[in-house]
């Protein structure tokens, strides 16, 4: 589904990603963790080419992403949920969700709305359909953002620290939605600091530090028996 080959990314002299290769299978839930500045956000942003790799290739469903075809490939394969939600503030919740389906995927307006309500039900916000994002709490905005991502029916959803900007009391409502969606056959790549969530949802955990994959494995093995020293020290710091 997703394949990265020898992906490197530099900003100026700073090499943020160093020769990353990885594959994500269809329906797999991959959770990426790592310390601040390890490059995990950049990694996930390379999957939909919000960041163009300095070198290396990214394949989606066997098709190589290029600066030229990225808009088209991304349009038909992946959605993203951002740390800062990035809802469109000049549109209602409903319009936020129906925009891409109607404008990009030629879904008739009525059907797009029905669909939108279906996903609003899933995230529990049907009654907010006609409100503007600014009137919602952070957790609600992020749930709308997830509904927006789901409404395009993409097989891949990328989450870039979806709960890091939330008030602590709203983190769980967003995680709950994600946990429920993880039962579906969607490929999820999640950058997060929520270890409980990672453990519950992930098929595989990737630990990144200083731009390289330090360790990866299924959650049980990863949390119980980390092999690498850096993983151990990172886990030691956050799992107390």
């Amino acid at each position: 589904m997703i394949r990265m080959e020898h992906v490197s990314k530099s900003f100026g002299n700073l090499e943020v990603l160093k020769d990353i290769s990885l594959q994500v299978a269809e329906g797999e839930k991959l959770v990426i963790i790592g310390p601040s500045g390890s490059g995990k956000s950049t990694l996930v942003r390379c999957i939909n080419f919000l960041e163009l790799p300095t070198s290396g290739q990214v394949y989606i469903d066997g098709q190589q992403l290029t600066a030229k075809n990225r808009t088209k490939v991304v349009r038909n394969s992946s959605s993203m949920v951002f740390q800062q939600f990035n809802l469109y503030p000049h549109m209602t919740v409903l319009q936020n969700i129906t925009l891409a389906p109607t404008k990009l995927h030629h879904v008739p307006g009525k059907q797009a709305e029905e669909d939108a309500f279906k996903y609003l039900d899933i995230v529990g916000l049907r009654e907010k359909a006609h409100d503007y994002p600014a009137t919602l709490s952070g957790g609600q905005q992020q749930r709308v953002a997830i509904a927006r991502a789901l409404a395009t029916h993409h097989k891949i959803i990328l989450f870039d620290e979806p709960t890091s900007a939330l008030d602590p009391e709203t983190v769980q409502e967003v995680l709950d939605v994600m946990i429920r969606r993880s039962k579906e056959n969607i490929t999820m790549v999640v950058v997060t600091h929520e270890m409980g969530f990672a453990r519950m949802v992930a098929d595989r955990i990737l630990f990144i530090d200083e731009g390289t994959i330090v360790e990866e494995g299924p959650p049980d093995q990863f949390f119980e028996n980390p092999k690498n020293e850096r993983t151990k020290s990172f886990l030691g710091k956050i799992l107390r």
């Binding site: 956000s41 993203m80 891409a100």
Partner: protein, 265 residues
């Protein structure tokens, strides 16, 4: 002295000849309206381009803006009027006014549009691109609509300047309000009433616009004060347009997730 400048007889003459001013007023209105359309077209295109990803297009837009902003409008108009005929381009004076004032104001509007776009958080464009919107469509449906309230007041001020600047037509016999007023004053010697009348007519056009702009500005300020700070971090869109060479350290830290203040587990 005052009585001779504003002698009642002169006012009488003015009122008898009001249609002259009316004609000029209509031409000024026409030229201003068309020039404004042109200026908006030029301004929006250049504004979008100069906040866009292409370095070459950005450069072209920059040159345009600097050129038109840093040379007098009079020279530009004289150039079209006196120099272009030598290469076989002879335009009707009104058209000349539309083009001259339109291109000139377009440079200013482009700056208004550019700053408007840059004030929209970068996440908006990223969200659009992550959904698969092509750049221009994202601009049109997501970014530009958000800039409208921000750019409306400065845009209106540019429209006011544009209306006043159409009076430049007077120096190339453009038949506009200023020209009619001036030539009528020369023949009737009623300079005082003529200029006051012309000035009044410009004022009638411009004052409502300026008032509207000020009103809008206050409304925006108010709504910004009311709204609690949105939880989103406002990273201006300009940081998105970053090439590998000119990236700043703070930008670097932010994009790579190394912001020291960021909450980490």
């Amino acid at each position: 002295m005052w009585t001779s400048l504003f002698a009642p007889a002169k006012w009488q003459r003015l009122f008898r000849n009001l249609p002259v001013f009316g004609e000029g007023f209509l031409i000024t209105l026409q030229v201003a309206a068309l020039a404004l359309l042109l200026a908006l077209l030029v301004g929006i295109i250049l504004g979008v381009v100069s906040s866009g990803p292409s370095k070459i297009l950005r450069g072209i837009a920059r040159v345009y803006v600097e050129f038109f902003q840093n040379t007098p409008l009079v020279i530009q108009i004289f150039f079209y009027f006196n120099a272009l005929p030598y290469i076989g381009i002879m335009l009707p004076v009104k058209t000349l006014g539309v083009l001259g004032v339109g291109f000139y104001t377009g440079a200013y509007i482009s700056e208004v549009v550019r700053t408007g776009i840059l004030s929209i958080p970068i996440g908006q464009m990223e969200a659009a691109q992550s959904q698969g919107f092509p750049y221009l469509q994202a601009m049109r449906t997501i970014i530009l609509p958000q800039t409208i309230t921000i750019v409306l007041p400065p845009l209106t001020n540019q429209a006011v300047n544009l209306i006043k600047n159409t009076s430049i037509l007077a120096i190339i016999a453009g038949g506009d309000l200023m020209y009619r007023a001036d030539s009528w004053a020369n023949s009737s010697l009623a300079y005082g009433p003529a200029y006051i009348c012309a000035g009044f007519l410009y004022f009638v056009l411009c004052f409502p616009l300026s008032t509207f702009a000020r009103h809008m500005e206050e409304k925006i300020k108010k709504s910004q004060n009311q709204r609690p700070e949105p939880p989103t971090v406002n990273k201006p869109i300009k940081e998105q347009i970053r090439t590998d060479e000119d990236v700043s350290l703070s930008g670097l830290l932010r994009i790579s997730g190394m912001k020291p203040t960021r909450k980490e587990a």
